[in-house]
Every structure is written in C-alpha cells, then in structure tokens.
C-alpha cells in the first residue's frame, strides 16, 4: 500500500491545514501512476495531486474535510 499525501504548500506554517477541494476519482477506482487524483487547497494556493503508483485507490479524506498538510488523504494498493 502506498500513501497519497496531502502536499506541503505552506512551509512557513507546517501545521497549516487545508482541504481536498475536488476528487477526480472514486473510491475503489483503478488508477495509473501520474493520473490526476485530486485538487487540494491551502489558504489561497491550490495544487494537483497525481497518483504516485498504479493500483486501486482507497479514499481517506472527504471533499471539503479539513486535513493537516502531509497527512494521508488516500492509499493505493
């Protein structure tokens, strides 16, 4: 199993939290490495999250749920 981590967007505030703004895949979907999984947002910055590996994605964080930077938002196995 490989963790998909919420990117660190704010280095000045490592404790900053953000949200998964949009999931582009659904729980249980087969994904390929590099495929766009989600778009996340911290303060005014947003970033794309690509799949690090091939596999089946298991979603951990819901859209709009507040999560700390660096936490696992999904797993691929």
């Amino acid at each position: 199993m490989t963790d998909v981590l919420f990117p660190i967007l704010s280095r000045e505030r490592p404790e900053a939290e953000g949200v998964v703004a949009t999931w582009f895949v659904t729980d249980g979907q087969v994904v390929t490495a590099g495929q766009l999984l989600a778009e996340i947002q911290v303060d005014k910055a947003s970033q794309e999250v690509p799949a690090p590996v091939d596999g089946v994605v298991h979603i951990l964080a819901r859209e709009g749920e507040v999560v700390p930077q660096g936490s696992a938002i999904a797993r691929i196995g």
Partner: protein
Amino acid sequence: MTITEVRSERLTTSRAMVQAIDLAMERDERVIYLGEDVGMYGGIFSSTTGLLDKYGPSRVLDTPISESAFIGLAIGAATEGMRPIAELMFSDFMGVCLDQIYNHMAKIGFESGGNVKVPMVLTMAVGGGYSDGAQHSQCLWGTFAHLPGMKVVVPSNPYDAKGLMTAAIRDDNPVVYMFHKGVMGLPWMAKNPRSVADVPAEAYEVPIGKANLAREGTDVTVVTISLSVHHCLDVAEALAPQGISVEVIDLRSLVPLDRHAILQSVAKTRRLVVVDEDYQSFGMSGEVAATITDADPSLLTAPVVRVGNPDVPVPYAHALEYAILPRPDRIEAAIRMVVGA
C-alpha cells in the same frame, strides 16, 4: 479489426473548457487566446490553466487593461483570417468595451452583407454567490442576447463546456461564451457536485442553439441556464419522492434560442417556471415566457412564474446577496405554487 477506445475522464468545468481550447489550438495555429492574466496566471477563473506552458506567449497573450483595444484587435485579426479567443475578465466589464462588441464584432458580418466574417470567441466569467458585490457578480446574458449579431452560449457542466467551446471556435460567427464562476469547479469557491463530471477525451461539439433536456418530468417545465441548472436539478430530485415530477430544460444557448424545446415541453406539462440569475425585467425570463405566449397562450394552465435576480444591484453582504439570488428555496416555492402543492 481495430477497436477504438473511447476514453473519458473526470474533469471540472474549467478543465473541460481548457481542454477544448487546447485541442483547438493544437489542431489550428490560427487559434490564439488573449486577455488579462490569461498567461502565467491561467485566467483568474482558470479558463486557460496550462496553455501558456504548452503554446508560449505568442499564442497565449497577456494584454494590458485595454479592453477596447484588445477586443478590437481580436476583431480585426478575425477579419483577416485568424480565429482568436478574447477574454473579457468579468461580464460586468462590458461597459468599458461594449462598442467594439456590439457595434463592431456583432455587426461587421451584417453590414458587409456577409462578405466579411468575424470568427472569434469572446469568453467571460459571470455570476455571483461569493460576495463579490454589485460590479463583479452580474450575469448580463440578457443584455448580450438582446443585441443582434452575436451567438451566446452558457454551459452549465463540464461536458457542455467542452462541446460548446469547440463549437464556438469552429463557428464563423462571433460567439459570446459565458462561464459561471460557480460551475467552474474551482478549489477556492463553493461548488455544486455537478461541476465535476466525465468528459470524452476527444474533441466533440455540442450544437449551438440546442437546449438539453436535463431531466424528464410531467408536472411542470423549469427552463433555466448556467449555475441555476444545478439548483433546479437538486430541487427536482428532492421533490420527486413527494410526487412532484419536474422537467428541467438547460437552454445552453441563448442565441439562437431553442424555442422548439421550450414549446414542446410546456405543451406536455402545461406549466412553466423560468429560473434566471440575470436581472428579471427586460431579459431572458421574459423572452422564455413570450416564447409560449407568442405561439399559444392556451398551452398554459397557470401563469408563468419567474425566479430571478430582482431589478436590484447584487448586494455585498452574504445574507442580502443570498436573499436575491435564485436559490433552491425560491425555486422550490415557485414550483409548488405553479403546481398548486
């Protein structure tokens, strides 16, 4: 035998719009995109994300704050064989450049008896709901639709956003393409889940001038456009188990207007609600109502109910803004009133 894989992917409305532009730019070097902050910034509502990286500054051009000059530039270039897309950052800014739009872009084809064409797209962000105030929250499609000589398309979802953009670029007439900020699926604005959907990977057109029957129903026809489509579908879903069957028509285009679709639906349901986030008087909702009364008022068994922004500038305070927007509560109340439930 080769089986062609039809790929699709889940995209936000903004990514779908960008994909259509990308495919068109790849195919035809005459297509360029110009406007304010469309380069490195990617458009302030993500209308051009990634295009500068791919096509460079000679095809994705940041302009000065000179709408008359750069929209006029797009017009002149279009008359000389290019196929430019010019972005007016907010429809609210039409005031500073309206002459180039309605007296030039929209009239050159006509005044020249068809001898000169203006194959350009004029994109613009529209709509409110995030407290941007009276000068940055308007829709104004009624105003653009009112002025002859330009087509007007208003996609509500990713599939239509891509298909209408492709059709708009390929059209030899000027097309105004209005994208509601609330349907773009932006990470920094509250969004309806319908802003993200599956979209075919290849280039395809959604025909300009054809409405979409977004939901079939029998008790009332709700004709609407843009973000309001999402609200109407949400309300229709909630009312279905309560025995009210709502038919929702997403107009998708205002010019040309699919009057046939409106008539056909009302002939079936005999009741009409129009939901329109533009100012109510002298605009789209009146035009939809007149479509019925021009043809056959006896189709209606109840007065048309219009749910729109009242003739009031959009207020800044959240509670005030949400009191004037055509939100689900007002849409539901209108449906209940017209069906007598």
